[in-house]
Each structure stands twice: as C-alpha cells, then as structure tokens.
C-alpha cells in the first residue's frame, strides 16, 4: 500500500475534527453538556467499533478463521476449528431464557484458565532469579566498600524515621495497653531503649560496618507492609499490629511518591494537547 499523499482538504478537515473533539472533551471540565454528551457517545461508538474490528483482525481472523483448512495439508486442525467455533457460540445461549446455563461453559473455561495460570505468573513474578522475592534477599550489613558508602543525609533521614517509629510505637502501645493489665511502661521502655540504642549505634559504628540503610529500609518496609495485609484476627499479636501501623505509614509514603511521580507524565499529556491546539490547529508559531 503506497502512503496517502498530503491533501490540504483532508488535512484541514482532520485538524478541524480533531480540534472539535478535543474542545468538546475539555468542555466536560466546565460541566456535563450536550456537546460533550454527543462526542462522548461518538467516542464510545468509535471505541466499540474499534474493539469489534481488532477482535476480528487481531484475534478471530488470524487465530481462528485463517486456520480453517478446507482442503489439503493438516487434517487435525479442522475438527479443532469447528469445535472452537461451537464453544465460542455457546456464549450466545445467553440470549435464550431456557438454555442460559450453556453460556456458563465458556465462562468457566475462561475463569479456569485464569486460575490455572496464576501459578506460573506467581513463579515468574516472585520466585525466579530476578523475581521480586528473590530480589528482596538483601544483605543488611555491607563490609567496607567505598562505592556503596552511604550518604550522610540518608543516615539522617533514616535516624529521623527510626525516631518517628519509636515515638509512634510509644503512643500506639500506650493506647493499646489500656485494655490489658500489663504493668505500665515495661515494653515501652524496652522498645524505646532498643530504638535509641540503634540510633546511637548508627552514628557510632565504623563507616564500613554501617547497616546498609537502603537495604534495611527495604526489608523493614516489606515486613511492616506485609503485616498490614494480615487479616486474621487470631494472628494479630501486639507486635504484628504495631508493625501493621508502621506499615500503613510506609504505604502512605509510597503512595505519595507514586502520586508525585505520575504528575509529570499526566502533565506531559496536557502539554501535548496544548501544543496540538495552539501550534497545529491555530498555527500560533
């Protein structure tokens, strides 16, 4: 297929339509209105048509229709082809009131295949050589290595974080203890003591033996956030629920980071729109 030549009429018509569509969609920011509604319906229609078209051209045609072999080479494909068509058509019993249960067969096949695939997906994502769990086996202690020496600010931030943790555990445990009759202050002092010792140790430790803070924080985050996702009431010890609370904080930090870093990508899209409207459509350059 040779490429289409540039034709001012079609180009202009295209730009006009494109600009109209863009503005109509932007009008939603003001309020839902008749113009938006019209273009929204067109958009849904176009999307639907596109779905139908690519389902045919990308799935059904190459993977099913083109594989039918009316004559010649491979005989074993033909019954397979027909069978698939029959199973596929079972969907349409949805339209009959009596035999609607037949349409559950393709549903069952889809659900079953999804369930069965879970095993390999988990393996591939978490337990392979560069899987997420395997990658979490991090040394919490790195021997002298100037390349990986940690920066002071990270240390400061980490100490600050630990201080926050200590403070929070303090508050949390006090609140928690009210319901029980454990003698006051024991575990609070213990925990605060441990954290203070850790904080002091971080400063006093020789440079090469400093806990690799990044690794430590990664593992800490992993453990605490995992604790947040424990649901069984019976398994919630005091430690677990304390860790879960910290986990929620760490999750929130993680969410803030995701939010902030996505802003840029979203803005780029809007900037692209501004360029389209101002430069291509209005020729302001």
């Amino acid at each position: 297929m040779e490429p289409l030549t540039l034709d001012p009429f079609w180009t202009r018509l295209g730009l006009l339509l494109g600009a109209t569509c863009t503005l109509a969609m932007f009008s939603f920011l003001w309020r839902e209105n008749a113009v938006y509604r019209f273009f929204e319906h067109i958009f849904v229609g176009l999307g639907m048509g596109y779905t139908v078209a690519i389902t045919w051209t990308n799935v059904l045609k190459p993977h099913w229709w083109d594989k039918r072999v009316w004559m010649g080479s491979s005989e074993e494909i033909l019954p397979f082809w027909g069978l698939l068509g029959i199973v596929g058509l079972l969907w349409y019993f949805q339209l009959s009131k009596k035999r609607v249960w037949l349409s559950r067969i393709p549903i069952g096949i889809l659900m079953g295949s999804g369930a069965g695939l879970i095993f390999r997906r988990i393996y591939g994502l978490f337990f392979t050589r560069d899987g997420q769990v395997t990658q979490s086996f991090l040394p919490l202690w790195v021997s002298t290595d100037p390349g990986r020496a940690i920066q002071e600010w990270k240390l400061a931030l980490g100490v600050l974080g630990l201080g926050l943790v200590a403070f929070y555990s303090h508050l949390h445990l006090r609140r928690y203890r009210r319901g029980t009759d454990i003698p006051a202050g024991i575990e609070i002092r213990l925990l605060s003591g441990i954290f203070l010792a850790l904080m002091g140790a971080a400063f006093l430790m020789p440079r090469g033996l400093i806990i690799a803070y990044d690794n430590f924080l990664i593992v800490l985050t992993l453990v605490c956030v995992l604790c947040y996702f424990l649901f069984w009431e019976g398994g919630r010890t005091r430690l677990a629920s304390s860790a879960a609370n910290l986990g929620k904080w760490l999750l929130m930090i993680s969410f803030g980071a995701t939010f902030g870093s996505t802003v840029m990508a979203r803005l780029s899209l809007l900037i692209n729109r501004a360029q389209y409207l101002l430069e291509q459509c209005l020729h302001l350059k």
């Binding site: 273009f39 988990i122 997420q132 995992l226």
Partner: protein, 223 residues
C-alpha cells in the same frame, strides 16, 4: 448435573496450566503440554473473543430501543451506532487494500477523531491531578502528612527549580536524589508487597474457582 459440567470445564482448563507448570519439560507428557500450550492459549483467546458479539447485541438493543421510542437523547444513540459501524467497517476494510476514499475516511475516524479523543480524555488527568491534590493532601492525620511531604519532595525532584531550591536551602541533598531514593527504596518495597498480596490472594481465589468452592462466583446457582 449442569453444575458438574461447568465445574468440569473450569477444572480442566485450569488443570492444563497447572500440569504444564508442574511437570518437568524433560518428561514426554511435560513436553507435550509445553508444545500444546500456545494452541491452548490461542483457543482460549478465541473463545473469549466470541463474547464481543454479545456486547454488540446488547449495545444495539439498548440504543435501537432509544431511537425507536424517540427517548431523550436519541440522536446521541444514532451517533453512537453510526460511529460504531463506521469504525468497525473501515478498520476491517483497511486490511483488505481499500480504495483511497475509504482509507481517507479511516484515517479521519481513527487518527483525527479516535486518537485525538483518547489523548484528550487522557490529558484530562492533568486537571484532575491538580484538584485531587488540592482536596486530598490536607494534613489532618499523620498518614496524610507523610503522603503530602513525599509527594512534594518527589514533585520538586522532577523540575529544574527544585534543585536550585535545594541549593538555596543548603540541603545536603538535591531533590532529584531524594526523589530517586524514595522511589527506589520505600516506594519499590511498598509496591512489591501490594503485588505480593494481590497475587497470593489470586492464588487462593484461583484454587477456590478450580475446585468449585466459591459460593458467590455465580457459577453454581443455576435455575
């Protein structure tokens, strides 16, 4: 009986993938399963694809009724149906070397309308991000405060002014550095656990689906 048939199909479809995963590829069965995997995948894709027709029927019914009865906004339904058929026709036709006019119309529908609409709706997010930020990041709780501080640090790390600001404040780090650190340490670990939890949940759900133990997957309650 019907329930058994459905559970059987569900189970077999899942069992195939489980066996394919578990059996070593050196054994003959394992090899056969490996070899069959692309075909099974293809077949399942095809079966899923057939459902699109039902969707089309549903949409046509809904909107045709609107048009027939001249309900409020019927012209929108006309636009929807027309654009649907136009798009489907031209998109499929495009693969079969159509005349120039058809290709022009395809480009008009696809490049000038569909693509622009997509990008525009996508870019609405820029506005929404701003108003969501205004509403959500109020320091009422510690959680919201942490979220806000991280978001601001990360955002400052993305623009050139941020690092100047850091220099101006005489901070020991640049915001770019801080952003990368937050992203690759805490954010990474947090996302990792969400992923892990979701997949473990999927595993449990999958096992229940395969054994037909779910009360509410709606598979069993047949009239």
């Amino acid at each position: 009986m019907r329930r058994w048939i459905i559970t059987f199909f569900t189970f077999v479809a899942g069992l195939f993938y489980i066996l394919e995963f578990v059996l070593p590829s050196k054994t003959s069965t394992g090899r056969a399963l490996h070899a069959a995997k692309p075909y099974v995948g293809e077949a399942i894709m095809v079966i899923g694809a057939f459902a699109v027709g039902l969707g089309v029927i549903g949409v046509c019914r809904h909107h045709l009724r609107k048009v027939m009865l001249r309900q409020k906004g019927w012209y929108n339904s006309v636009a929807l149906l027309a654009s649907m058929f136009a798009m489907a026709t031209f998109k499929i036709w495009e693969k079969y070397d159509p005349p120039e006019l058809a290709r022009r119309l395809h480009d008009l529908l696809f490049l000038d309308m569909y693509n622009q609409l997509t990008v525009t709706v996508f870019s609405l997010l820029a506005f929404y991000v701003a108003s969501a930020a205004y509403r959500a990041f109020r320091v009422r709780t510690v959680e919201a405060g942490l979220m806000m501080i991280t978001a601001i640090v990360v955002m400052l790390g993305q623009i050139p002014l941020g690092d100047r600001f850091a220099k101006f404040l005489q901070l020991p780090w640049t915001f770019t550095e801080a952003r990368l650190w937050v992203m690759s340490v805490i954010n990474m670990a947090g996302q990792r656990v969400i992923l892990l939890g979701a997949y473990v949940g999927s595993l449990a759900f999958g096992i229940r689906v395969l054994l037909g133990l779910n009360k509410d997957t709606l598979l069993e309650k047949n009239p």
